[in-house]
C-alpha cells in the first residue's frame, strides 16, 4: 500500500478498474460459454426479424441488406438498454462492497456503464465485421457519426440508469415496470423498420422518441443509400442526453447517502 494518501481521482480510478474486472469475471465466469451468449442475444433478434422480413420483402429498403439493417438498430438499442438496467441495479448488486470506504455507488455505476459499453461496441464490431466477411454490404459511410451516436447512447444510458437507481431506491416496485417499458420502446424506436414506412399521421408522435432519432441517424451514417427524413434531428437526442446526465448526476449527488442505507 502506498504510504502517502492517494488523490481522490486516483482512488476512484483504481476502484472503477477493480469493479470493472470484477463485473467482467462474475458476468462470464459462471458459464462455460459466457462470451458466446453475448453474441447470441443480438443474433437471435437478427435471425428472427430477418425471417419475419422474408415474408414482407416487398417493403422498400433502398437496396440495403436486411440483416445488416437490423444489426445497426438492435445492437445499439440493446447496449443502451443493458447500460440503463445494469446501472439501475448497480447499488443492490454491489451492496456488500460498500463496506469498503473507497467504494461508492458512483463507482459501481461507472464500472457497469463502461463494461456494457465495452461489450456493446465489441459485439457491434464483431457482428458487422462478420457480416462484411460473409459478403453482406456494410459501407460505414460516416464512422465519426457512428462513434458520436454510440457515445450519446452510453451517456444517456448512464444518466437514465442513475435516475432509475434513485427512483428504485425509494420505489422498488418501479424497477420491474422500467424493465417492461423497454419492450414498447423496442417497437417504437425503429429497430426493425425504416421510419419512412410509418404513416404520416403517426409520425409526429413517434418523433418524440429520442432513441428513434439516434437509430435513424445511425442507419444514415452506416449506409450509403439510406433515406433519413428531414424531421430526424441530432440536436434533440443530444440535448435529451445532456438533460438525463444532469438529472442523474444531480439526483445522485442529493441522494447519495440515502442510496447506501437499505
Amino acid at each position: 500500500m502506498t504510504a502517502q494518501a492517494r488523490k481522490p481521482w486516483e482512488i476512484q480510478k483504481a476502484v472503477v478498474f477493480a469493479l470493472f474486472l470484477r463485473e467482467l469475471k462474475t458476468r462470464f465466469g459462471a458459464y462455460r460459454f459466457g462470451y458466446f451468449w453475448l453474441l447470441l442475444e443480438p443474433m437471435a433478434h437478427v435471425i428472427l426479424l430477418s425471417l419475419l422480413f422474408y415474408f414482407f420483402r416487398d417493403r422498400a429498403l433502398f437496396g440495403i441488406d436486411y440483416p445488416v439493417f437490423i444489426v445497426t438498430g438492435v445492437v445499439p438499442f440493446l447496449m443502451f438498454k443493458n447500460i440503463t438496467l445494469r446501472v439501475m441495479d448497480g447499488v443492490d448488486a454491489n451492496r456488500r462492497l460498500f463496506s469498503f470506504r473507497q467504494i461508492k455507488p458512483m463507482d459501481a455505476f461507472l464500472a457497469r456503464a463502461m463494461l456494457d459499453a465495452f461489450l456493446g461496441v465489441t459485439v457491434y464490431a464483431l457482428i458487422l465485421g462478420g457480416m462484411a466477411w460473409i459478403g453482406l454490404d456494410v459501407p460505414f459511410r460516416d464512422p465519426f457519426t457512428v462513434v458520436f451516436l454510440i457515445a450519446l447512447l452510453i451517456l444517456a444510458g448512464l444518466g437514465l440508469g442513475m435516475i432509475f437507481a434513485v427512483i428504485g431506491r425509494f420505489l422498488p416496485e418501479s424497477k420491474s415496470l422500467i424493465r417492461l417499458a423497454f419492450l414498447p420502446l423496442y417497437f417504437l424506436s425503429g429497430i426493425f423498420f425504416p421510419v419512412v414506412i410509418v404513416p404520416r399521421e403517426y409520425m409526429p408522435y413517434l418523433l418524440w422518441n429520442p432513441l428513434l432519432h439516434v437509430i435513424e441517424l445511425m442507419r444514415g451514417a452506416v449506409f450509403d443509400s439510406y433515406h433519413v427524413l428531414p424531421e430526424i434531428d441530432l440536436l434533440f437526442p443530444a440535448m435529451t442526453t445532456l438533460v438525463l446526465l444532469y438529472l442523474g448526476l444531480a439526483w445522485y449527488r442529493a441522494r447519495r447517502f440515502a442510496l447506501l442505507t437499505s
Binding site: 500500500m1 492517494r6 474486472l21 462492497l97 463496506s99 469498503f100
Partner: protein
Amino acid sequence: MIELQDLTKSYRLTSGERRYIFRRLNFRFPEGVNVGVIGPNGAGKSTLLRLIGGIDHPDRGRVVTDQRISWPVGLSGGLQGSLTGRDSVKFVCRIHGASHEEMLEKIGFVRDFAEIGEYFDQPIRTYSSGMRVRLNFGLSWAFDFDYYLMDEVGAVGDARFRQKSRQLMEERISRSNVILVSHAMSEVARLCSVVVLLNDGQATLFRDVGEGIRAYEEMGAMPQQNRSRPRAGDGPKPPVPTGKRGPAGAGPGLLGGAPRQ
C-alpha cells in the same frame, strides 16, 4: 487523530418518525491507544464504527481523521460468491492501490493464513462458513492500517486457528491500534487501554478500563425504561446491510448468503 465533530445520526422508523442515535456528539478519541467501545444494545456502537469507517454517513457533522482506518475486520465485504478467494484478494488489493508486487505478497499472505488449500482458487460460494471466516480475517490482517475496526473479536474456527488468529491480531495491534466494539468485557479489558461508554447518544471516555466496565455494568443492570427517551426493544436496528449482528465472523449473515457445507 480521530475526532467526531457535531455528529448527528438518525434513522427513519417505518412509522415515519426519526430515531436519533447521536445528536450533536463531539468526541475526540485519545491517540495511540486501543479503544474499547461498550454500551447497551442499540446505543449506536456499530453505527459509530460504520461512521468512523466511512461506510455510513452522518446527517450532520463529520468524522475528522488523518489516520488510515480499516474496513471492519473479518467482514466479508468484497467477497462475492462467484469470485475465487484469490480474485477477492486481488480485488481488495486493487481498490487499495497496491502495486503488483504488493498484490503477490498479499495473495501469499492470505493463502498461508487461511490454509484452505485448493479452495483458494474455487468460488467462495463453495466454501464452508469456517473457510470464509479464515479468508475474511486473512484479508483484513494482510493490510496495514493505523486503526483496525473490530465488531467483536470473533473467536472462530478450531483451537489452533484461534490461537494463530489471536497471535496475528496481537502482533498487528502492537504496531497499530484497534477500535473494538464488544459485549465481551474480558476482551475489552485484555486488549484495550481506554473505554468509551456509549449511552443515550452520549460518549463518555474512561481512562481506566475497569472503571468504564463497572459504569457499564451498573447501567446494564437497569431495565430499559430507565432511559430518558422511549426506545422500545422492537425499534428497528440501524440498517446494517452486511447483517453483522452476531459475534463477528461467526454467522452466515456476516458472510452473506448461506454457507454451503
